[in-house]
Symmetry: C4
Subunit: 269 residues, 4 copies
């Protein structure tokens, strides 16, 4: 703990400074400046998802611009674990960068642009190759909420099969708006969509919520696989009412895990 | 080792100072001051359970007040891995905080209050979402002692089904004294009660014992699941006499693991 | 992050210096000096494979000499996690060290020499006891690409049975050119060959690529084993076109994980 | 690496000094002084086994005295991960401490005394609750060598059932010479004996060898369990000749992993 405090303090100052600079340089092109706290949270989200093993060198997390619903924030193309505030860029809902300069972009930024376009209530998105969910995307075993922490899975977890929208010979990536739109159509009321042979996409109404969901989706997958073996397929999952109730409760407690994860992630390395 | 010593020393001093201050401010409202060592141990228990993966951002550990059996100590609502002595609060057996100030409380403090009320011999309680036990709470496979370290499971591990006491649409939490009392009735002579779709509660006669039990319950669950697969359901568990004998032996050796876990937990971050 | 920067800087300077010295001392015996960056990358590869759990005290990684295709670079016999630039030696395609001095050599250097001899397009090789692939080498379950990160497995993963080339009583090691040649014959167009009861060999066209492949082979094995259980043998793997397409895409993104892994590996200890 | 060097240096100096002091104080009671390097190695073994997850707060490792075959060295009763040179004590083959002072002793020191008494060629012993082997001790699935690193398992892995020697109501511990002798009789030519519901004992001809064996026994158990599921019981294990050959080879390479493990273990905390 003690050791992480100065690191954390330095980080927050640097993040705030970079966010401010970012907000100023981008403000002329958007309807309003971005909240420095949002950039700070997005950087923390990148580092948390890395520290918790949801992302490795690949995967990305975005947030809708809080001053302009037609914009979203996403890092330049890089490993999430290395992202700092200066790496956060602004995109429009066609997936175009507002101020690209010479920075390389995530090929799959259309996952974010198309979901934000289709669902105004969604404010944050994680795409990852979260390891424990990969087996669920390639088999018929449905991902369901085994405990209250992953109750958001109660809304159903569809599988996106890229062969339906992209044919049998894609490179598996959501590399254009059309594939992004096909993926977005799968989201509906779900918090999580599995992508066969690839990973998943997790959506939420805030950065804290989407990070919470991405992490507990990974944990649920590991525990559910274990329970299915232990119970030979018979597992007592949360029912729909329990899932909905627990989700409302969890939404009020997102800060508790966020503080812990942030402290752990930012004291690494 | 060497690196952890100053950290540990600083921690112990700070813990002792805070415990003293705590004891003084609370003494007018309880029948006797709390032993500073008890607060120190409760903080260490929080950090150990986090370092050992029994708790994450959620879960809590309490101890009965050593000067007043109608009181218990529990942190304010926060991640156990971040708890320090200043976060420890005092509660009565209705689950009310004696000196709440503006601090938020764990919704599920009634797990602790109702168990302490029903079982005078219980002095410490852990509630967690210990990952490996979740599958056992949602299937019919019983948790049994696979080796002597988890011999305390020999007293039986009941499953608490919240639907029986709270109906089919709870948020899974023990959020009032009635649900706490229903859970407490399941404890009986057991050291562990599984909570379906939620986690478990572990009880003991000291902080060191309850931490020992919580950690070895997690390990036992992982090893038993593996053994059930390996033996296709046929596993040679400890019998009742072996379990009772081993428990008596282990109770005399709690300090050995405690020292190691404490050193490891307090040198983190 | 912050903490690793000085360590990383120091490392790069030391690596560059050692590589330069190495290049000079070896240049008289080879057709051209080695690129200092190649030695730097080979050291990083050793440390990355250790940090990622692909190698432990055993295993090795080599690179073909960039100035002389009949030479390759490989550490002296030691744990990969401890390798520094001064430990890198130069070998010819018979597996003989050009400047052995009194240094001990890996018994299995013929894995490298014979594969480089047989396949001019191969520029880097990893041999390891990568834990999750061991079960696949000893059973009939084929290792196949479960997601796009391990798409290179789509070219097929043969199993090398040493009893065919070495008889029923070897010590399992590729300890001479004949066994090396037999193993090399199994490679063909594959990126990975499993060695029964031993480990695997992974080949690539660069150090970055072979490290990427070694790491995702380990992950694929773990996830595929899980999926086979979950799907009771029915798993929807990448098809041949998807695998080929994804491989082309991944080859353009090798730098992203490399930077992360390098940062993580070189900030350890 | 760089960071661990001073720590390691300090450790080695301290270890050498303590070993020297130990040798002098004990020399009057034994036929010869103990080699300071042996105490140094035994301390390293304790810390390595902890760092590698073979022991936790429990378990112990001993070495036969190099100057007197009727004596052996073992720490006082404590967690192996915290052992330093000053904690090493000397015992005779009845399990009695030569210079007990007020130090508490491992209840199960008779594991060591009786095996040293029965097998003059055995020079080092590990007893642990190595997690992955627990399921093999409680089922009928035999532990067999799945790859060359664990080839020493080829000599067979008997299971010790304490009910045969101690009856149906023990506390599972080898707490007297009689139980120690019964366990010793199971050893024969094996390197490993499983103890049902308890753990295992691993024997070797040196500290480096017994540590190597204890670690690869743990890994083999994990990989074999996985292979048995993957192959539905059909696994291609090393045959007897391969196991014997590989063991001879491995015995010549013990230093390679030892150096890595020692560096890793002594740079922790």
């Amino acid at each position: 703990m003690r050791k992480s405090v100065p690191l954390l303090g330095t980080f927050l100052l640097a993040a705030a400074a970079a966010a401010l600079e970012f907000a100023e340089s981008a403000s002329s092109k958007t309807r309003g400046p971005v909240d420095p706290g949002l950039v700070d949270d997005l950087v923390a989200a990148n580092r948390i998802l890395d520290a918790q093993g949801v992302v490795d060198g690949f995967g990305h997390v975005s947030a809708r611009h809080d001053g302009d619903p037609n914009r979203f924030l996403l890092a330049r193309s890089m490993a999430p674990g290395l992202v700092t505030a200066g790496d956060i860029m602004e995109f429009d809902l066609d997936g175009d960068a507002l101020d690209p300069r010479d920075r390389s972009l995530y090929v799959e930024r259309f996952i974010h642009s198309e979901i934000y376009k289709a669902y105004p209530e969604i404010k944050a998105i994680v795409h990852s190759h979260s390891p424990s969910i990969i087996p669920f995307g390639t088999t018929t075993a449905p991902l369901r909420p085994i405990y209250h922490m992953s109750s958001f899975l109660g809304a159903g977890v569809p599988i996106f099969e890229i062969r339906e929208a992209g044919g049998p010979a894609t490179d598996m990536l959501i590399r254009n708006p059309e594939l992004g739109a096909a993926l977005a159509r799968k989201v509906g009321n779900s918090a999580v969509v599995l992508m066969r042979g690839h990973g998943d996409v997790v959506v939420g109404q805030s950065i804290q919520q989407v990070v919470f969901r991405a992490i507990y989706t990974e944990i649920n997958a590991r525990l559910e696989a274990e329970a299915l073996r232990l119970g030979e397929g018979e597992v007592n999952f949360l029912n729909a009412e329990e899932a909905a109730s627990a989700t409302a409760t969890n939404n009020a407690a997102l800060g508790r895990t966020w503080e812990l994860w942030k402290r752990q992630a930012l004291s690494r390395r």
